[in-house]
């Protein structure tokens, strides 16, 4: 479905966030992209969605193909219309809008009929979201917000759903609910998923294939069970001290709680 070939990405024409990344997401599969803070995971998703320019980021070389068709350089709207939807890191809801308005906006590129159909589906999948539909989304709990964020992306009728750290800062039961929903979508509707995570344990239980990225490079990839069994993977995570914050990290105003493989 999706293939990145030798992607290199610079911010401000100077900071090399992604050096040389190639990865593939086969149709109908869940693929995990793992890495620590600042490894370049979100940058890759922004590149696929075509929103890098907002942060003065640019794809310097390489290609992004969706079913053989070049999609780098397309507008974010084009990419959404092609069925590539992203649930951004930190959820990024329209905080001043109600839950239902958020969902409706998720269907912005779709017809009225598709939108009301999608709304039903999301409410069925997350009854908690339905209960909160008239509330201002900014005041929901983190877990509810994550469900709305996923629901909003589903409203765009994705063929490929990209999730950027959906477990970030959430209680374990909520994480379970969310991951169960994603797995069910993949199993029942064949939805293709690219899952970005720092929680390697969780991601490798969910995905069938995984890539591990460090400092903008893929350092390891393989079938999920192989990676899970690999001692190096655990050591890779435990040995890495992601404690020091870089300047960009400090600007982000939501709190992060990273859960490390133990």
């Amino acid at each position: 479905m999706l293939a990145l070939k030798n992607i290199q990405i610079l911010y401000d024409r100077a900071i090399e966030a992604v050096r040389d990344v190639s990865l593939e997401v086969p149709t109908g599969q869940i693929v995990a992209l793992l890495g620590s803070n600042g490894a370049g995971k979100s940058t890759i998703l922004k590149a696929i969605s075509g929103v890098l320019y907002q942060e003065d980021g640019e794809i310097m070389s390489g290609s992004i193909q969706l079913e053989g068709e070049q999609i780098s350089g397309r507008t974010p709207r084009d990419i959404v219309e092609k069925g590539v939807l992203q649930v951004p890191e930190g959820r990024a809801l329209f905080a001043t809008l109600t839950v239902e308005e958020n969902l409706l906006m998720g269907g912005f590129t779709r017809s009225r009929a598709e939108t009301s159909e999608g709304l039903e589906r999301v409410y069925q999948m997350f009854p908690r979201v339905k209960e909160r539909r008239t509330q201002i989304s900014g005041y929901l709990s983190g877990g509810e917000q994550q469900m709305v964020a996923i629901g909003r992306a589903l409203m765009g009728k994705p063929r490929l759903l990209m999730l950027d750290e959906p477990s970030l800062g959430l209680a374990p039961q909520i994480v379970d609910t969310i991951f169960d929903a994603v797995i069910a979508l993949n199993r029942d509707t064949g939805l293709t998923v690219l899952l970005v995570e720092q929680n390697a344990q969780l991601a490798l239980q969910t995905a069938s294939y995984g890539y591990i990225i460090e400092n903008g490079r893929i350092v390891l990839d393989g079938a999920a069970e192989k990676l899970r069994a690999n001692d190096d993977v655990q050591e890779f995570y435990l040995g890495f001290s992601g404690g020091e914050r870089r300047s960009m990290r400090d600007v982000k105003h939501y709190k992060r709680r990273k859960r490390w493989l133990s």
Binding site: Q54, D56, V80, L85, Q86, M105, G106, F108, T109, G138
Partner: protein, 290 residues
């Protein structure tokens, strides 16, 4: 008591003009984050264009607006494409400076075309005085207040129920997220300018019909600033209400305290608002959740 009623009534009239102009400001600020310093000039230019249409075709008020509004929207669109779009990605401050420059250009162009002398412009509105209770009104005054009511309701319904209106609020709330659901942010910006220009034209025509059409009309843009701040900068409906409040405060100050105070009373309100409620009466306090 009659004196008080009269002050309130005239306050409502000038307040309605402030409210309309402030709504135009708020609409652009809400969806683009830019304080448009050319809003007053947009009011002036569209009023003059309407004046030319009026003298050429001799239309009555509603047909006149039916022609004026689409032309104004076109002007809003062109200005956005020409001056604002190329600035995309530049710091907001730079874009605001562009609107300051745009203001000077529009002022110059208007005087170049129509000259510096004031015109009488009825905009096709009848001129016989009507009484509501014991208070006399010119029809143009009632049109102005009525226009504010209609625009406020239309603005509310648009932002609340229409797909485009909700998208506008979505862009205001989170631009990146808006892009990620496929909303074309640049198109939303263009729509904001078009609608803002439409409101500006209604404000301009009715202001001119109530007072006169003169090249100092742009100054009403600055005078509406207290209403913009009181309304909370980004609240379209709030600006309308705030306009009425400022209009009345100004008139009551003038009536009971003293002439000179009319001009500054609005700005006194700004200072107080900024100290007590920096996000205005209706503006959105940023919702931030951790």
């Amino acid at each position: 008591m009659d004196f008080f009623l009269l002050l309130v009534a005239t306050g409502l009239v000038s307040g309605a003009a402030y409210g309309l102009i402030a709504m135009g400001f708020a609409l652009i600020f809400k969806s683009t984050g830019v304080v448009n310093f050319a809003q007053g000039e947009l009011v002036m230019l569209t009023a003059y264009i309407s004046f030319s249409l009026y003298t050429t075709f001799d239309l009555s008020f509603f047909p006149l607006m039916l022609v004026t509004i689409p032309i104004s929207m076109l002007i809003g669109l062109v200005l956005e494409r020409l001056f604002i779009r190329p600035m995309l990605g530049e710091p907001i401050f730079a874009i605001v400076m562009v609107t300051v420059g745009l203001a000077v250009i529009l002022r110059g162009v208007t005087i170049m075309i129509w000259g510096p002398d004031p015109f009488n412009f009825t905009a096709g509105i009848p001129t016989e005085v009507v009484y509501i209770g014991s208070v006399p009104f010119y029809p143009a005054q009632l049109y102005l207040i009525g226009a504010l009511a209609v625009m406020t309701f239309a603005g509310w319904a648009f932002l609340r129920f229409s797909r485009m209106g909700i998208a506008m609020r979505a862009v205001a709330a989170n631009e990146t997220a808006a892009l990620l659901v496929g909303i074309s942010v640049s198109r939303i910006h263009a729509v904001a300018w078009m609608l803002s220009a439409a409101i500006a034209s209604v404000a301009g025509v009715l202001f001119a019909a109530n007072f006169k059409l003169a090249p100092d009309l742009w100054f009403q843009g600055l005078k509406s600033f207290p209403a913009v701040i009181l309304g909370g900068l980004d609240s379209v409906i709030g600006s309308a209400v705030a306009g009425l409040i400022i209009g009345m405060i100004e008139n009551l100050f003038q009536g009971y305290v003293g002439q000179g105070l009319r001009e500054i009373s609005g700005f006194i309100v700004i200072v107080i608002v900024l100290m007590v409620r920096p996000y205005g009466l209706f503006g959105s306090k940023d919702i931030e959740r951790v």
